[in-house]
């Protein structure tokens, strides 16, 4: 799918935000915005099965909420990838959706969507079937005490964080200043410790889902 153009549909009620998303994505050669609508009602009309690869959905819509809309659209079109946009931390909600949705979702905060590279990378990775979580929230996430993720070594957790951000093994290796092989071996240990089996891309998604499930964020008071 990497060589193909990714068709993106946007559902966002704030006009400024919608405009920003359209402009940022349209300037990429491998992305094309096919729909851009302000509400759930319009989205249900234009998001016909097979017409969109990735749906960018705002959580708060004037006529419903983006999560319910996403579940509905995905039930009609199981190939549709969904990425949630929200201005506040909806990780808890996002996590519980993963059990209901036909295929795992990605989640970006609106704050991060203003960063072009983050947005573009997240959309592309989501289109490829990866689960991408907002890098800002990922960096603030710590393992939940008593969980399997808490048993990972700091180095393994560092790798898992970057995988959760949607980075490829190569990109993660570059970011960490280690070689790709080390990243791969870390990943292997991560899968083992988290009890994940199956093939390549499914395991990656399962690891990110475990990350979402078993981490929390603390805020300074």
């Amino acid at each position: 799918m990497t060589d193909q153009v990714v068709r993106v549909g946007i559902v966002e009620d704030e006009a400024l935000m919608r405009g920003m998303l359209e402009q940022t994505l349209a300037s990429e050669t491998n992305l094309r915005v096919v729909h851009s609508v302000p509400g759930a009602t319009e989205a249900r009309l234009v998001f016909t099965p097979g017409s969109v690869d990735v749906a960018l959905l705002d959580v708060h819509l004037p006529d419903g909420n983006g999560v319910a809309l996403g579940v509905q659209l995905q039930r009609q079109d199981p190939d549709l990838a969904v990425m949630l946009l929200s201005s506040e931390d909806v990780m808890g909600l996002f996590s519980s959706v993963q059990e209901e949705a036909p295929r795992p979702w990605s989640y970006l905060s609106k704050r991060s969507s203003f960063a072009r590279d983050v947005l573009v990378r997240a959309v592309a990775a989501t289109a490829e079937g990866q689960v991408v979580i907002d890098p800002y929230l990922v960096q603030r996430s710590e393992p939940r005490s008593g969980s399997a993720v808490a048993d990972l070594t700091p180095a393994q957790f560092g790798v898992l964080r970057l995988v959760a951000e949607g980075l490829s093994n190569q990109a993660a290796a570059e970011r960490l200043g280690i070689n790709t092989r080390s990243v791969e071996s870390h990943l292997k240990s991560i899968y083992q410790r988290l009890g994940i089996d199956g093939d390549g891309s499914n395991r990656r998604v399962a690891a990110v889902l475990a990350f979402i499930e078993q981490t929390g964020r603390s805020w300074r008071t």
């Binding site: 909420n65 999560v67 319910a68 579940v71 509905q72 808890g92 996590s95 964020r217 603390s218 008071t221």
Partner: protein, 415 residues
């Protein structure tokens, strides 16, 4: 502190005016006694009817009167014996299957001496047929007279219980409305305090901080790199204020996920706890059944009570008990004998420093205890197997059959 036994937190004294106006058993005894008096009078008429009076008057008026009194006395004594015997065995304690055979047994036992006594009265016939008929008639009359009394007592008892239940429901509803109003005022005051206190204060510090950055750029020898770093730090600060304060307010008004059920809301709340806290939530078979059916058995108002009580317990465990682990269980079960009435039972265990003893904490819990009691429930505090405190509560509710609309899975509160 671990030796402290569980205790109930009471918000107000128990109400004593739930007793019935008078005992239905008394109604039963009065009616049964009236019946047996009537029976003895009728037996007198019967004695006169089959010639006893005629026979006795041959022996003089005095004999006629004494014979008549003897007939009445025997029957009255028999009747009162059945009444006394039956009610001494507390027939209302038993079900109908035991109650009526019990009366029959008492009547059967008492009707034997009656038949003997009737035969001893010399103006009555002496044949075996008469004795047998007299005995049988006496038995049935005793059974029916007292049976009717017991039956009425049962009916009255049922009506009283129903009346009392309705009264309780009405009183509970009135208190719930009252409590809802005071709760609304409390939340309003809290939101207002929070806006004016915390949020405003924190925003003022950001404004001042930004002014400081601007001033540093105005002056000679401005350092744009340092200013940029400061601006980033302030942006970070704003982000935290938004995340914390806005969420606190939104949660106080309406906890996230509560539309989807108590467990979902509590789950979302647990996920928000700092990652250093180990959490677990276990739902019992009753709740799981409803979950499978896609039903939310509690009404929204009841769900809010449950969620806020659990939240208070968790907050206490972390804030005052310094717990590092909280474990929650929740289940629902039907209340026996009351259709559509269920009770939610939940507990919050922690490994903190034990029973709360600060006034602030107990005051907060007392408010929740009161809300639960208004609904006929209760709240108990005790030591936990985890080493800290165990808070458990029962919340009775009228079951709803509301189902989650498909596709309406997750709902996020609006800010």
């Amino acid at each position: 502190m671990a030796a402290v036994s569980p205790r109930r937190l009471r918000a107000r004294p128990e109400h004593v005016d739930d007793q019935p106006l008078h005992d239905p058993t008394r109604t039963g005894i009065v009616l049964a006694s009236t019946n047996v008096v009537l029976f003895s009078l009728m037996s007198l008429a019967q004695w006169a009817g089959w010639g006893g009076l005629n026979r006795a008057s041959h022996s003089g008026d005095a004999v006629a009167v004494s014979e008549a009194l003897a007939v009445m006395a025997v029957n009255l004594a028999y009747g009162l014996l059945v009444v006394g015997g039956t009610f001494a065995l507390r027939p209302m304690r038993w079900g109908a299957k035991v109650r009526y055979p019990l009366i029959a047994l008492v009547a059967l036992v008492a009707s034997v001496p009656r038949a003997v006594a009737m035969r001893a009265i010399y103006t009555t016939p002496e044949g075996a047929v008469y004795i047998g008929a007299e005995w049988l008639a006496g038995f049935f009359a005793g059974f029916l007279a007292v049976g009717a009394g017991v039956f009425v007592a049962a009916v009255v008892g049922r009506a009283r219980r129903e009346e009392r239940r309705r009264l309780q429901v009405a009183r509970r509803a009135a208190r719930a409305v009252e409590e809802l109003q005071s709760e609304e005022m409390r939340v309003r005051r809290m939101v207002s305090d929070h806006l004016h206190g915390n949020l405003q204060y924190r925003l003022v510090t950001v404004t001042a901080g930004l002014d400081g950055v601007a001033a540093s750029l105005d002056g000679a020898g401005a350092d744009p790199a340092a200013a940029a770093a400061q601006l980033r730090a302030w942006a970070e600060r704003l982000e935290e204020i938004r995340e914390q304060e806005v969420r606190t307010l939104s949660h106080a008004v309406f906890p996230a996920g509560v539309e989807l059920g108590v467990v979902r809301a509590v789950d979302l709340m647990l996920r928000r706890l700092p990652p250093q806290i180990a959490t677990s939530i276990q739902t019992g078979p009753g709740l799981r059944r409803f979950e499978r059916l896609g039903q939310v058995p509690l009404m929204l108002a009841d769900r809010l009570v449950a969620v806020y009580t659990i939240e208070e317990a968790v907050t206490n465990a972390l804030k005052h008990g310094h717990a590092s682990r909280v474990s929650i269980t929740a289940d629902v079960r039907p209340v026996p004998g009351e259709p559509e009435r269920w009770v939610m039972e939940a507990s919050v265990d922690d490994d903190g420093t034990g029973m709360p003893d600060t006034d602030v904490e107990l005051h907060g819990l007392a408010r929740h205890a009161e809300r639960l009691e208004t609904r006929g429930g209760h709240l108990t505090l005790g030591p936990s197997a985890l080493g800290g405190t165990r808070l458990s509560f029962a919340l009775p509710f009228e079951r709803t059959t509301a189902t989650l609309p498909t596709g309406e899975l997750p709902v996020v509160p609006e800010h």
